[in-house]
Amino acid sequence: MIENIRAAYVIARRDFTAIIFSKSFFFFLLGPLFPLAIGLAAGSLGAQVSEDIDQPVIGVALERGESAKLVKARSALARNLGSGSLPELIILNDVSPADPDIKDRLNSGPRPLTAILSGSLEAPNLTGSQRDVKRWSGKVALLAETALSAPQPVMVEVDFVAETDSSEKRAQLGIAQGGQVILILLTMILAGMVLSNLVEEKTNKIIEILAAAIPMDAIFLGKLFAMLGMALVGITVWSSLGFIGVSVMNAGIPDLPAPAVGWPLFSVLMVLYFSMAYLLLGSLFLGIGAMATTVREVQTLSMPVTMGQLLVFFLAATSVTKLGEPIEWFAVIFPFSSPFAMIARAAQMDNIWQHGLALAWQGLFTLIIIRFSVILFRRNVMKSGSGARKKNLFARMRG
């Protein structure tokens, strides 16, 4: 066992350094940055448009005279600060400044309100979700001070509206779907590369040297982990650049709703489930690719392999809204969809033990696929064992 791991490490080290220190790896790293740059530019434009369209609206439930002063103050400030930097104000004539059910008014009007300002200009009260209230209380204080021409700062009282269960679940569902999309995209981009991984060894006749020196399982395992290492280097570079980009553009990390297991554990599980998805699909692709004798055969295989990945993704995506239902359980247990289904669970369910079990199951199945691939490779390519055939799989398919 230890010798197998040592041998796999020798293969992984050779492959990893050969890839990382090649000129083509630089272009590999740059590859996703082009669509990302376009996406960011488009996103920036979209965000601007969105900001214009979705300008926050604050309902004003003050005495009539104070409301008028506030609107006038907004107009004055908008001339200097720009209208976009201030919330839109809507006078709520039918709401009393001391209404005890002011929270209910947030969603009862014809337009959804970001928050409601009640009380008085000297002692304003802002009611809304924690995030919105924190964001806009400063601007509201500024409006009140301007309206009063007050020499002293106005203190805004805040009243938070708790997130409802449904909104939390909606947010977590969004994280589940987002996590799945990221995992499947990364897996689709990176795991397919494993298909051609043994072609170099076969065309250069190196396979004979490897097969005589170390167990075939170690060769497969080493190649798989080298490619996983390369993929993780790429992901680290891309996510670091993405993190920096988002931080710079948003002047800080955006305040996102939390997945059920919390962001730190969710991030760790993203890495682990990506690794497992990569190892599972990669081991399968390595096994299939190992049967191919030429690059052309590998290219021919790419399309059905991509289709297979899409089917797995559809299965996982379908199950994301059906927690606990048979189809979701099937997606959790079926090894190839399991990482995607489990990351969706991490976003929506807070029990942790199931992830240990799932990771162990996925790891075990990876080893089973590698073993099976090695048996096929030895029989069909190396022509070993009593079941050996002279023609390889493709030769037989061609007749």
């Binding site: 010798e3 006749k205 190196i206 097969a211 030895r378």
Partner: protein, 326 residues
């Protein structure tokens, strides 16, 4: 005597580097290796002689554990699981292969690392070995930048960098010019002098004749002969070449009746009675001996005798076809 390593196969301690018992390999119903029995002693240079397609490479691949036999069993350095002994074995396959983008000394180190040698040690030894073989300036070049001969030397050095106790070379002389063949012969002898067992396959009889203490002749998937080179040659009686002043006399009764002179020269197989009765008859019968030589047949003649004319002709064609020096 047997012992076992936890989690490993039982190991049989004995004097043989290789032992094969009735190993059979078929590809698509065709028998490539047909019930071969072979034992190779430790510390010898052993040649496997036969034409292309005789089953030499398939046999070596089974002995090394690259492929499994359909029938029979084999032991490499006493183990039925050859891969478990890979740290003590060096193997140069017939089809040479190296990673093209690797530097030469790194390729040597990588081959050593596959067989348990620490990478740093392999790199140090790789550089030194290349220096020793006059390739020091090519150590930092990529394999794709080397000539074919240089790349073959790099692979050979990679085969022995971890200082194995058993070296198996499949057609090592193939593709080498006469100069490099000479270098390779010296390297094989040097390894054997250090107690290393060297096994190589070849279809060039001269290499086996010059280097090997023992050989196995492989033909049509079988081994019709295995043993010492001298034993193979002893299968044929010595040849007599005689020049006489006289063409007739009582001495003629001592040579085969069907032997006809070419001028005053005679060539015939030494009679079973041996040298002394022949010599006595020639002198006493007044043959007038001008010259006389009695030579043991070469390995080529022995090969033809053992494997048959057709196999020998096939091997001669292989040699000629590859343009190889003998």
């Amino acid at each position: 005597m047997t012992s076992s390593i936890p989690g490993d196969f039982p190991v049989i301690d004995h004097q043989y580097a290789i032992e094969a018992r009735n190993i059979v390999k078929r590809f698509d119903g065709e028998t490539a290796v047909d019930g071969i029995d072979l034992t190779i002693k430790r510390g010898s240079i052993f040649g496997i002689l036969g034409p292309n397609g005789a089953g030499k490479t398939t046999m070596l691949r089974m002995l090394l554990g690259i492929i499994d036999p359909d029938e029979g069993e084999r032991f490499l350095l006493g183990s039925p699981n050859p891969i478990s002994k890979s740290h003590q074995v060096g193997y140069l396959p017939e089809e040479r292969g190296l990673y093209q983008s690797m530097k030469a000394y790194d390729a040597i180190a990588f081959m050593g690392a596959l067989r348990g040698l620490p990478l740093a040690t392999g790199r140090r030894r790789g550089r030194q070995m290349m220096e020793d073989h006059g390739l020091g300036r090519a150590a930092d070049k990529q394999i794709r930048q080397l000539s074919k001969g240089m790349a073959q030397t790099v692979q050979l050095l990679g085969t022995i960098v971890h200082q194995p106790e058993l070296i198996i070379l499949d057609e090592p002389f193939s593709g080498l010019d006469a100069l490099n063949q000479g270098k390779l012969e010296r390297l094989i002898r040097a390894q054997a002098d250090n107690g290393v067992t060297v096994i190589f396959s070849t279809h060039v009889i001269a290499h086996a004749e010059r280097l090997c203490e023992e050989i196995a002749i492989v033909a049509n998937g079988k081994i019709p002969f295995t043993g010492k080179v001298s034993t193979a040659r002893d299968r044929l009686p010595p040849q007599v070449t005689l020049e006489t002043r006289n063409l007739n006399g009582p001495w003629r009764a001592a040579i085969p009746a069907d032997c006809q002179p070419l001028g005053h020269n005679w060539s015939f197989t030494l009679p079973e009675s041996g040298v002394e009765p022949l010599l006595r008859a020639l002198i006493e019968g007044d043959a007038g001996i001008e010259s006389l030589s009695i030579e043991r047949p070469g390995l080529h003649d022995a090969f033809v005798h053992i494997a048959g004319e057709a196999v020998a002709n096939k091997m001669a064609q292989d040699t000629a076809g590859n343009g190889e020096a003998a």
